[in-house]
Symmetry: C2
Subunit: 402 residues, 2 copies
């Protein structure tokens, strides 16, 4: 039985093999999970209970590919309050933002089409894009978002259909794209007729500093698809995300959703709509942010204390991750497999997995949202020890620079 | 903004335009819905409530692309009791069986690959397959399932990757594939190295006669992917289906599910698992079947009474649909749009939409599960009147034979 060509890539993120040696009790900075202790479980339970008691008989029936209308209204309002010019008619519910990524790629990408991703970028987005076999162009991340000069050069030279970006507290670097770059990105997209896929799952999780408008705010030609998600601000197992797009793109996305899984659960959408009606989501987000900010600050302090001076890291203003950069020539995958996991039972996500070319080897993503205070202290201390040892050891550096 | 080529097909099922003229109060035989009055809403509500009360803190967290383990165990047991040789390790939960169709196509189909569908077939499956741009071969349906001689000729002449079939109470014809054809189908698949996608959403809804083993029962080489669904036997808005496949295919399906929507809702899977633990699903199915059988019998009686003798219909032993066949040259799409909807406010699904080539024009699908007794009587009587008028009228027949 011959599989489709697309499966050659998508079956192997490579992470399973790397973590095969994990032992119980690992201190994992590798995850991307919110902390389950922060989920408003009682309120969500109540919302389900109220929904079962008050919703019409059609609660458990098929509904619509676009989703439950009152929830679409609430999301349209939330997005408008956030600077996005949208209407209920342009909002669709998805199975998490992940499905939005898949549907956007499905709408736009023929095999071999050009597509720009940030380097590094979100691993799961690559898993979705790989299915449509695009031709990737990597644009490097800087402290204020992707390198716009590099992007312009790519767009001048190559035909590109879509640019994928996580402008707020990027996965994996934690970076925020600057206001100037947001505007420049839209201008370039207009000039070169490109669609921007703006993925915003961390957007509401700003711990310090002032929020910037979404890229979609600057969209004058209906070429930005914005993706939102309840996974990081409410709970992942609701599997609820949403998207908004101009009519030119929206109708196709809805049709593709129908063929993909018919629709999202009406029971789930109705109950989350009930949660939003009965509770103050923003007050809940505020509580969540306090905990995550504390952990982020703790991790930054520990990194300052324990990391060798050749290793750099950032102090993100929000989100789930921060980014370690080791000296050129360092191989973070080898370090993880040969030193960090076996010697310390500590883990992170190595950078090579986060670019299509696998050619970014000296960095790593650290998650701070789902690790307790003690593990942050202990894990970072052990990470520092292992890094110091590895940076003195020739093999890890030598092999990496071959 | 240029969309992907695949969207040229998938955006247009053609049904929206046909039903644009619908008026309120339509008697619809066009749907494919179960009756929402039969959903065990109280029991499902209890299952959610018990799950919220007893499940661990990880209930609302990310879980796994394969799905909630206890539910996978129960489904493996159900399938084994139904003659499928499978294990828990080979079962994955999906967003309805629709996602199973999408994932199987995603796993196997390169653009231009050969794929066999029954003619007619399930409209939503075509919407899923279209995305991967296969080269369709249509094999005609007979009273005992697809024409195996025709299938063999196709397989001899063309390279085919996958055969899609709904062997039990087929959507749209209501047909059951015979035992002989099930065995022959697997033999041909073995000879020509083809994967069979067996879609079984109606399998548990047999009203009369003896069940036949699933096609997967005869699978000796791990080339049958079996799809199941809770949508028709429990409730659609749970959005829960499942699949089982041999390890050779299963691992790829799981990886593709990850890129598609990460995973299915752990809350949903845990609650449905709770429902199955606390209730007798088969007893519930028995109740549902009694109602649907009654409606099917009523529709068959009404068709016998009201339809002109040139129109043929079957009396299926289960499922959701029966199949009308008008004389050659009759155009059921035109009849629906120009006579049945405007004159009677009654609807069905015309056959042209149910084959990739659109070249099956003289038939129609009737649903009986979500229509009440009175509407069945009235709707079929009006359908008979309109058919009699149309069969006397030249334009509808003439244009159709051009």
């Amino acid at each position: 039985m011959k599989l489709a060509k697309r499966t050659e890539k998508t079956s192997h993120s490579g992470l399973d093999e790397i973590f095969a040696a994990s032992k119980p009790g690992m201190i994992s900075f590798a995850g991307g999970y919110p902390d389950s202790k922060l989920f408003p479980r009682v309120e969500i339970e109540q919302a389900f209970s109220h929904t079962f008691q008050s919703a019409p008989a059609t609660l458990l029936q098929y509904n619509s590919s676009k989703g439950y209308l009152p929830l679409r209204e609430k999301l349209a309002t939330r997005m408008r309050n956030d600077g996005i010019n949208t209407t209920t008619e342009s909002v669709m519910l998805t199975q998490g933002a992940q499905q939005g990524i898949d549907l956007a790629a499905r709408l736009l990408l023929n095999r071999g089409d050009g597509m720009v991703v940030e380097a590094p970028t979100y691993l799961g987005a690559l898993a979705a894009f790989d299915v449509y076999e695009p031709n990737y162009y990597e644009v490097h991340m800087e402290a204020d978002g992707m390198n716009i000069d590099e992007l312009q050069k790519v767009l001048m030279k190559h035909e590109v259909k879509m640019i994928y970006t996580v402008p707020d507290f990027q996965n994996p670097t934690g970076t925020v794209m600057s206001l100037e770059k947001r505007k420049a990105l839209v201008q370039l997209a207009n000039i070169y007729d490109v669609v921007i896929l703006e993925d915003g799952p961390y957007r509401n999780l700003r711990y310090t500093g002032e929020p910037l408008p979404p890229i979609k705010h600057f969209d004058t030609e209906g070429r930005v698809i914005f993706l939102g998600s309840f996974s990081k601000i409410l709970a992942p197992s609701l599997r609820l995300g949403w998207l908004t797009a101009s009519p030119e793109l929206f109708d196709g996305l809805v049709a593709l959703k129908g063929g993909s899984d018919v629709e999202t659960s009406n029971l789930m959408m109705s109950s989350v709509d009930g949660y939003l009606a009965e509770n103050d989501l923003d007050a809940h987000i505020k509580e969540v942010k306090a905990t995550y900010q504390h952990r982020k600050d703790l991790m930054v302090s520990a990194l300052k204390k324990h990391l060798p001076s050749e290793v750099h890291f950032n102090n993100p203003e929000g989100g789930f991750f921060l980014w370690l950069t080791m000296p050129q020539g360092f191989d973070s995958t080898r370090f993880l497999q040969e030193s960090l996991i076996p010697n310390s039972n500590v883990s992170f996500v190595p950078s090579a997995n986060l670019v299509p070319s696998k050619q970014l080897k000296n960095a790593a993503r650290l998650n701070f949202t789902n690790v307790n205070d003690q593990d942050i202290e202990t894990g970072v201390e052990m990470l520092g020890q292992q890094l110091k040892l590895a940076l003195q050891s020739k093999p890890i550096r030598k092999t990496a620079t071959r």
